[in-house]
Amino acid sequence: MKRDLALKYQAFVDGELSEREARGVAEAIERDPEAQALVAELRATRTALAGNEPEVTLPETPEFYWSKIEGEIRRRGEEPVGTAGARWVAILAGWRRFLAPVAGVAVVTFLAIAAIKFQTGQVEDYAQHLAEIENLSEHSTSFSFRSGNMFVVWVQDKDYADVDNQVELIDNEDAFQ
């Protein structure tokens, strides 16, 4: 049996249908044994509920009963919610839901800043101070040093290289590495 039809039979039993509809449904029930069985069951249930509905009665007058409820509500409203520690725990528990997204954003931000610094060379790279120097001519020699932001490779003729001249040319010997 279709659900709509069953609901219609229930409405019929409850007397919620119009007169015309009720007449049509009654005719249909007469023709259909399954419908008859359902209607009989619905009527029995209805009768059982109507006859056995629990009746609750207030032990005191309704005014006094509601005044007690109001008093209880007022009392709970004035009562402190909890200790300071419990409040903090509650606040932290509230913030905990933001923990995962904030941590994710922090990681992404860190990676982005690190990448930018790496790209722009802001990260101190100790390889910056290393150099490979090769003399390609047998007639020349060279030495290197660094001073501040200047890296110098000094190239000189082997025949021209003598210590006295070298000292004379370089003003700041401390710059040698």
Partner: protein
């Protein structure tokens, strides 16, 4: 299902960060300046202008020479993993190669003969200086620096033109000094 979504979101964020990181290999915008240094107080030639005061001060902190003159200035782009030659004077060429690291390999060539090769990381704001003795107690320097993109977009063409004309006008003593290393 919920965790799969989170993982997907994390992977997406990491992918976005990775996409934002350009590859480190890059073309280098380089400036190579040939400088002549002397202690001769009387030297004066309108063809040579004194070097930038800031750079001159940096040089004076290290070297004994008091006066520094710009002979030529070349600006160019060294392509990624490639070589570019900078002819700083008629007889002196500096070949710069961008290599893995990122580093540069700087080869000094005097009168067509290789003299020195130095491999080193080149950082913006740093000067890579090749230098040597010259006649009469003077000296030559080739200062190589990496330019910022903004600087190169504004000036390279004019600087290259200036550099070429000055290199062609290099006096004999300077040309010889440049090739001191190639003797």
């Amino acid at each position: 299902m919920r965790y799969i979504s989170r993982w997907k979101a994390l992977l997406l964020m990491l992918w976005l960060v990775a996409a934002a990181i350009p590859a480190r290999a890059e073309e280098l915008k380089i400036e190579a300046t040939l400088i002549w240094a002397t202690n001769d107080e009387k030297f004066s030639d309108p063809k040579y202008k004194a070097v930038d005061p800031k750079l001159a001060e940096e040089l004076r902190k290290i070297f004994a020479w008091k006066r520094y003159f710009e002979v030529s200035r070349q600006t160019g782009v060294v392509p990624n993993r490639s070589t570019k030659s900078f002819k700083v004077s008629d007889k002196c060429v500096v070949e710069i190669t961008e290599i893995e690291g990122p580093k540069v390999e700087v080869k000094l060539i005097g009168e067509g003969k290789p003299v020195n090769k130095t491999t080193k990381a080149l950082k913006r704001g740093d000067y890579f200086t090749l230098g040597g003795d010259s006649k009469n107690g003077s000296a030559w320097f080739v200062i190589i620096s990496q330019l910022d993109e903004k600087a190169t977009s504004a000036a390279p063409v004019q600087q290259a033109k200036d550099g070429a004309s000055k290199a062609a006008a290099t006096p004999d003593n300077t040309a010889k000094s440049t090739n001191t290393a190639a003797k």
